[in-house]
Every structure is written in C-alpha cells, then in structure tokens.
Symmetry: C2
Subunit: 354 residues, 2 copies
C-alpha cells in the first residue's frame, strides 16, 4: 500500500515534498555536517511547458573529493562554486519522471550531474547518459562505470602510458579511483603498491584488490624512505590523488622517464596554506612527465571504456567496494566522511533503489 502511494506520488504532474542538502556558506578548512543543512521543499514533477528539460527522481548520489573545491568561493576553469543557500550538486543515478528531451523518456535510468535533492529539474539534460546495462549494480554508474572509472581508465592507460613491467604507486589507493587503478595495473602486468590511511584499508588493498604491497602512510615518519623501501629501483608511474607531501616524497623516488598523473590533491583541498613541493628538480634529473588532466576532455571515449569494463566486472576480474550511506538525512555526514578518510571504498548515498 505504501509502495503504491509512492508510485502514485511520483507520477508526472504530482506535487511532492522534496528534501534538499543546502550549503550554508563557503567553507574554510575541513567541511563538517554543520556546513550543510537538510531542507524540505516542494516540487511539481513537471517540466516547464515546451522546454527540453527533464525532471528526475534521484536514486544514488556520489560523494567526491572535488566537491570540497566547490565549497570555496573561487571559480576556476573547471569549477563553478556552489551557491550558499542552494542545494549542492554532484554526480548521481536517477530515473526520468518527466521529459521534454527527445533523448529520454519517462522511466529511463540515467547518470550525470544532478542536485542533492530527492527530485531535480534538469534544464539542460544533454550531459545525462542513459543507462543501458542494468545487470550490474546501478550505483556503479557513479563509481566504477562513471567518472571514477573513466578517470582511472584515462589517467592510467592514456596519461600515464602504462605498460607491462612498470612499477606503479597509488595514493588514496582504496578510494573510488585508487582501487580501480590498482586493478588495472595488475591486469597490465605491473608491480603495484598503494598507500591508505588505516590498517583496514591496507589489508583490503592486498587481499581484495591484489596490490603487490600496501602501507599506511600515517604510520610512516619519512614518506620518501617508506617509498624507497617499496620501490628500491624507483617508481615508473605515480597516480597522484593527494598532492602535497606525498607528491614531494614520490619525486625523489621516481625512475628515469617516469610519469606522474595529477588526478587530485585531496590533502590540499581543505588547507588555506598548501604544502609547497620542493623536489621538482628531480623531474629534470629523472626526465619525469607530470600531467594534470580533466576527465571532461575525454568523455568521447566513454563507450570504448564501457565496452572494456563491463566484461571485466561481469567476470569478476575487477571488483569494486562501495561505502553506502542509507537515506537522504545521512547525505551530509557521508560527504564529510571522505575528507577525514572514514570511508572504505567509494562513498555514496542511496536515496531510493529505483
């Protein structure tokens, strides 16, 4: 009976209650749940007459490190800050409830940028992708089959020019991206070591994702010395998710003609005074290529990526660990978890399973 009511409520044209996660103000330092509030509004499940918009019901919301940068006042080439007082946005999996777009019909499942709210009106749905394969968990489309997956794929194979025999180091290795990159490295025949911030995560890297070795960076007094222990001959590829001190320690441990992919710098996002990298001279000694990339530039390769990933997932050759928060009220705390490293695997929030 309750299910049927919900079903009715989501019909096109219905007026529904709509909870939203709103940013109170720009954030300085580490974000806390107090920086956000859950607000209850109302919404009509109907697109403006004649528009090409869609209305979606949000099912899964992704918690990603870059979202911290949107809590700053600063606009960059890639990032437009959140607006205090308005709902935050991020990647999500959603279901079409009303559509003026020829691309989507009611009932379609999609993934892409959406609001942190139960229902969203998306005025420009061009950025949404229809989900065609539903034999894998839907949540994978904001993880291993979404931006983190694409980022791992492009960053490792293309930006790092990875090849068999390379020695690979990954920071934040059990996170949304690191765990995928590590498995790519093993598939490619590389030697791969990851670092993470707890014993549980380090164990996971070795037992679940097949890393050759792993260490807890919090237990190392000298990062450069720790790296030297795991890579006595040096590092060919560093997939950098954290920046700062770890990047500096890696630079002195690079091998000739090494590649460093700058994917993210989560260690720096909540800091007002970023750590200076002092060892860039080693990039000359070792002829290292350091490259920043933005996945938005590579989305034309998404279908090739999907074709590559789906069989690996179906055959269990690549696994994915998610840290799932249940229910809208747990959204802010789930997002905050990734900045203090409490999450184990890809952090996401489930609002509804369909």
């Amino acid at each position: 009976m309750k299910e049927r009511e919900r079903g009715r409520m989501e019909e096109r044209g219905a007026m529904v209650s709509n909870k939203q996660v709103v940013l109170r103000d720009y954030v300085s330092g580490f974000p806390t749940v107090e920086d956000m509030e859950v607000r209850r509004g109302e919404m009509k499940l109907e697109i403006p007459r004649g528009s090409k918009a869609v209305v979606v019901k949000n099912l899964y919301l992704s918690c990603d490190a870059y979202m911290r940068l949107l809590m700053n006042r600063t606009t960059t080439d890639l990032l437009t800050p959140y607006t205090p007082g308005s709902p935050i946005s991020g990647f999500g999996v959603a279901k079409i409830v009303d559509s003026g777009s020829p691309k989507f019909k009611v009932g379609d499942l999609v993934w892409g940028t959406t609001g942190w709210e139960e229902y969203s009106l998306i005025t420009n749905p061009e950025g949404l992708s229809k989900i065609e394969h539903t034999d894998v968990p839907l949540s994978y489309y904001i993880g291993i089959l979404g931006i983190p997956g694409m980022t791992s794929y492009v960053g490792f194979y293309k930006v790092c020019s990875a090849k068999k025999g390379d020695t690979v180091f990954i920071s934040a290795a059990s996170g949304a991206i690191g765990q995928i990159v590590g498995q790519f490295a093993k598939l490619t025949g590389c030697y791969v070591v990851g670092c993470a911030g707890s014993k549980e995560k380090v164990d996971l890297l070795k037992s679940k994702f097949g890393f050759d070795d792993a260490f807890n960076y919090k237990e190392e007094r000298e990062l450069a010395a720790a790296l030297k222990r795991y890579f006595p001959e040096g590092i060919d590829i560093y997939f950098d998710n954290v920046g700062g001190e770890m990047l500096d320690a890696v630079l002195v441990n690079m091998r000739a003609h090494g590649r460093i992919t700058l994917c993210g710098m989560v260690s720096q996002y909540s800091s007002d005074s970023p750590v200076g990298v002092t060892n860039l001279m080693h990039a000359i000694y070792k002829r290292v290529r350091i490259e920043g990339f933005a996945i938005a530039d590579h989305m034309n390769e998404y279908s090739k990526f999907l074709e590559f990933m789906l069989p690996h997932i179906r055959e269990g050759k690549i696994v994915y660990i998610e840290d799932i928060a249940e229910g809208f009220e747990n959204g802010p705390s789930a997002l905050v978890r990734i900045f203090n490293g409490r999450n184990v695997g890809k952090q996401l929030v489930v609002l509804a399973r369909e």
Copy 2:
C-alpha cells in the same frame, strides 16, 4: 716568434705547462671565485701508449648553470659531483694534439666535455664531436650549435610541442638558452615574452632577439600579476630555466592544455632550502603537462638540429650574443658571473682562438 714557439710547444710529445681551475671544496650557497683556484701543473702532450685516448688543447670553455650542481656533494642520475682538489669539467671547444682514436686526427677541431685546463687528456673521446663547419664562430659549438642550442631545439619543438599562435613565456630569457628559444618562438609564429634581471637584458630581448615583450622580474612585486599583464589570456608554453617562485607564478597563469618544460632551476641551485611550489593544483584545472628532460637522451637528433640551425645562422635569421671572458685567469670569475646574473648572453671563456 712567440707564435712559433707556442706552435712548437704544442707538438705531440712536448712537455708543457698546464694551468687548471680546481674546486677547493664542495660549495654551499652562491659560488665565489674563492671556491676555485688556478693551479699550474705540467703535462706531456702524448696519449698513453696503445690507448684510444686523445690529448686536446682547449680553446673555449663554457660556463653553464648545471655546473653549480656539480659543486654539491650529491650524486644524481645525471650528475656526478666534481672532486675537490681536481680540475672542474664542462663543455669546451678544443683541438686534437695527439690521438689514439680512429675518429680523430691531430689538428681536428672538436667539441664536448673537457677539463677546465689548457690541455686535457680525454681517455674516452667517444663523447667528442668533430667540428665540420668552421664558417661560423668556433665558440658557437658550446652555445647555439652545442648543448644550449640542442636544449632549446628539443625543449621547444619536441617537449613543448610548440605551434603557431602559442603564447610563450621564457625565464632567464637572455641567457644561453632563452635567447634561442625566443627566436624559435618568433620563427614559429608565437607570441613570446621573456623576463630577465636587468634593463640592459630586457632591452636586448626586445631589440635584438625580437621578443614581443619583456620585463625585469626584479622590479615586479607580484610575479603572478606581472604575468597576467603580459598574458591576459594565459600562457600556452613556459620554458622554465629558473624554477621556484617564477614557476609558481606561471602555474596560476597557464592556459588550458599548456606545457611547461623544466629545463633548469637556476634560482634553486645555490639554495639549501628550495622554494616550495604551491600551485600545482592549477596543473589539474588547466590540464597542464610539466616535463623535465635531459638533452643527453636526444643527442641522436644532433645532425638534424645542425642542418636546421646552420642556414638560420648564416642568413642572420637567428643571432646569438656571447659574453666572452678572455684568458684562463678569468675563468673562475666568468663562471661565478652566471650565478649572480652579471653575464649578458652566453657566458664563455676563451683560452686560445686556435
């Protein structure tokens, strides 16, 4: 008569006096002339019997920034430190006085690594190159036709993937490498701005080398703001000869998909506490490729490079300014000049003109 005596003295088998520049001890901070001494020794102008060595008379000695790194105790992939108490080494132009190498005969002119001394015994002459074209100044083979030229060529065209319309920034722009890169940029149809450390050099950049603009970095309080003035739309290519603060200021001014060539970091060579680079996050925002390179990896392109450069030099399409110290005794002070920026153009020492 004096000339004839000298001529005789240099005959194979003669015992000659041989002045040398010797490093007293490892250097900390900026090098001074007191860190070196000119010592007089003796040498027999003859290779060991049956060896493949050569004995050369040194004509021109090159003063290069990397030599400061060899005054440190630290060995790196690329660099083996000088030995205190022994003569320092560097690139030079020389004449073969005796030869056991099938590659060289007495009287040949060569360039390559030699000692800072009047005569050198070079036990492994494989690294020397015979000078075939003598219609250009011989000293060019330690400048525009030697390592600085090759470094400019590979760094600009290959590492930076330079193309018409790119906006190019060059630090230490009037130095041995910068002046060549700037002229390559103009030949390629780029917009190019250089910085240097005096009014004289800035004027030279604009009047002699055809830079579109130039500034004295010592007169700028905010390097990032200065760069914004010259590159309101951002920088496509930064040819970095200095590292440190300037690199940090450039990072926030890069354009999407920009390239930074790490060629040298002279601002850091004499410092015990290198300046930390804090703006690497902008390499992600702007998808920047930062690449260190070592010219030793690219020497197979030398003849292609020579074929490209010689006509440009002969036709006056590329010019080269040298700062020439006369005589062996002025060697140490000439070398020190490049670390306090007193040189204008490529610094070298002439021992003999042939």
